[in-house]
């Protein structure tokens, strides 16, 4: 063996050895992408309880100022009752006051109310005095909880004191289920303390792996699929046809259109293959039927099925032209 052949063999074996060694450490120890990746997710996740079944994030400012939203807003003057109702009750204007939100859905231990208890952590600019006064006007009362002011309201007479709003820190409010809001304050003050039964979702490795795997979109959601289907009241014939999906995640980037990735983690590889087959069938059918509509065809061409093992991923890109088409059709129907 010549010297340079020896060097070649050593270099090759070194690359293979270091590569496999790093991969093995990553696989068994569980560091996400080696030394190259962040902890994953926004810092507000540290206030979401560990048992959250669905976690969602939206960069509200980015979405509200997006070209798509402006276009939809001018083309389709949709009723914004929810937005107005929130502003009337709490004084929070979603468009101007909020920068980003993290929302979660947790199993509701106190009642069997579907779909469980929810909480929204909103970061932005809030007028605390105005918000508190408005909530008092609507029947809310102020409580002190661990040095934080908690405004508790009754969303309905049957469920008194189940809605609360708290100013967790300057520029951060928590609103939603009173139990979850108190939990968020606990987590904010003491941090993770599993021994005391207080742990945030950042300790849920399975969910956090999915959060880390999300694209750098301005809106995403991750959750347990059964948490959705159990409250969907689907007919038995439909429910039995749904593949056994354990986790789902959706990551989107809203700007001049919507692009993103939908991922599903199935229980086993066979289920993933079946799901891929189903999606592939629909894609082929869709692509065959959209020859005459170039806008839809562009969108369908962008659908890319991927994923390995138990993961099925479908990336998509809905261009602005598709929304133009939809808004045109909607206007025709209104006329």
């Amino acid at each position: 063996m010549t010297t340079r052949t020896r060097y070649f063999v050593i270099a090759s074996l070194l690359v293979i050895g270091v590569g496999l060694g790093t991969g093995l450490v990553a696989y068994f120890v569980g560091f996400p992408a080696g030394a190259f990746q962040r902890r994953g997710g926004p810092e507000e996740l540290g206030l979401v309880p560990r048992d959250a079944t669905v976690v969602a994030y939206a960069d509200v400012h980015d979405v509200m100022t997006s070209e798509l939203r402006q276009k939809l807003h001018s083309a389709l003057p949709l009723p914004e009752n929810g937005q107005r109702e929130l502003q009337e009750h709490t004084g929070i204007n979603i468009e101007t006051d909020i920068d980003r939100v993290v929302a979660c859905l947790n199993p509701d231990g106190e009642s069997s109310h579907a779909p469980g208890a929810g909480m929204v952590l909103a970061r932005g600019r809030f007028d605390e005095t105005k918000i508190e006064a408005l909530m008092r006007e609507h029947g809310g009362h102020v409580e002190e909880y661990k040095t934080k002011r908690l405004v508790v309201a009754d969303p309905s007479p049957s469920r008194p004191g189940t809605f609360a709003l708290a100013f967790v820190e300057p520029g951060l409010i928590a609103l939603g289920s009173a139990r979850l809001v108190r939990n968020a304050i606990d987590l904010h003050q003491t941090g993770n303390n599993p021994q005391a039964g207080l742990e945030s979702v950042t300790g849920n490795e399975e969910l956090m792996n999915l959060v880390r795997a999300l694209d750098t979109g301005n809106a995403w959601a991750v959750g347990r699929f059964d948490a959705l289907t159990s409250h969907a009241h689907l007919p038995e014939s439909v429910a039995s046809q749904i593949p056994p999906i354990a986790w789902f995640s959706v990551s989107t980037h809203v700007n001049g259109g919507i692009r993103g990735v939908i991922r599903a983690e199935t229980r086993d590889e066979e289920a993933a293959n079946n799901l891929r087959d189903v999606v592939r069938g629909f894609l082929a059918l869709g692509k065959l039927q959209t020859g005459a509509k170039p806008e839809i065809e562009t969108m369908l061409q962008s659908l890319q099925l991927g994923g390995t093992g138990k993961t099925v991923a479908l990336s998509f890109d809905v261009p602005l032209q598709v929304f133009d088409l939809v808004s045109g059709l909607a206007k025709k129907q209104v006329r």
């Binding site: 991969g23 795997a213 894609l283 659908l303 890319q304 994923g307």
Partner: protein, 254 residues
């Protein structure tokens, strides 16, 4: 074998995916918008899967097999050095087998580092994690090694049996195999690619409506069937190649 002009060219060829992966990674890092396929953001694992399919399985592995496999004996004939090998007190098939083992070692040491570098450059993009994709990398490395072993054996047979083995090898790898795989029926079982595709864990790229529809109806053999079939192909091809070397009379042109 390792330092011939052909090997240097193929080394550059294998560096191509690494350079491509590095460029993609730099662009994605600079612009932070993710890698996009048909306008949609794709995860690093999806991009890596595409590279494995399009660059390695469909191009690099067959071309390495063709260039090195056909050259095992043919080069010695062309260089008129085969006499020196065959006058050694060892069976002729042992010479072939030794050269074949050297081919496997060289190509595996060329391809696997290239794949590993591409994996570490591409997979951490778009949110995929090395930890989650590591099992897929292991199966890819195994699959590519199996492909190199199988193609090498088949083209070693071509090199010992036929005249102009390089042209015939290229026609087989880039004409016969891709064409036959598209036809329904049993002809595809006469290819190496059919069994190799049974070992791939990544989703096949859907580059057109036709490929999407075809993919829907394509059948892949199971992993045990693929491995067994590849083992049979290798054993049969090497045995026939060995026999050809033993029986054939090589007349060296003066």
């Amino acid at each position: 074998m390792l330092w011939s002009r052909r090997s240097v060219f193929l080394g550059i060829l294998l560096g191509g995916p690494v350079v491509l992966a590095a460029i993609v990674r730099i662009v994605v890092t600079l612009y932070a918008r993710g890698f996009r396929i048909n306008g949609a953001t794709a995860a690093g694992s999806t991009v890596f899967g595409l590279m494995i399919w399009l660059l390695y399985i469909r191009f690099i592995v067959p071309i390495l097999g063709v260039f090195f496999g056909t050259a095992l004996i043919a080069d010695e004939v062309d260089d008129k050095t085969i006499t020196y090998l065959f006058t050694r007190p060892i069976p002729r098939r042992a010479v072939l087998l030794g050269k074949y083992v050297a081919y496997v070692a060289c190509t595996v040491l060329l391809v696997l580092p290239s794949v590993i570098l591409v994996f570490f450059l591409i997979v951490p993009m778009g949110g995929s994690t090395i930890a989650a994709e590591f099992p897929a990398l292991l199966s890819d490395l195994g699959m590519l090694a199996a492909g190199l072993i199988a193609y090498g054996a088949v083209f070693a047979l071509v090199g010992t049996r036929l005249k102009r083995p390089l042209i015939i090898g290229l026609v087989f790898a880039f004409g016969w195999e891709p064409a036959v795989l598209l036809f329904p029926g049993y002809l595809k079982r006469l290819t190496v690619a059919y069994y190799l595709q049974g070992l791939v864990t990544h989703e096949m790229p859907q580059d057109s409506v036709v490929s999407t529809i075809l993919q829907r109806f394509l059948e892949f053999p199971s992993v045990p069937v693929s491995l067994l079939s590849l083992a049979v192909i290798v054993a049969l091809a090497l045995w026939l190649a060995g026999r050809a070397v033993e029986e054939r009379e090589y007349v060296l042109e003066q």
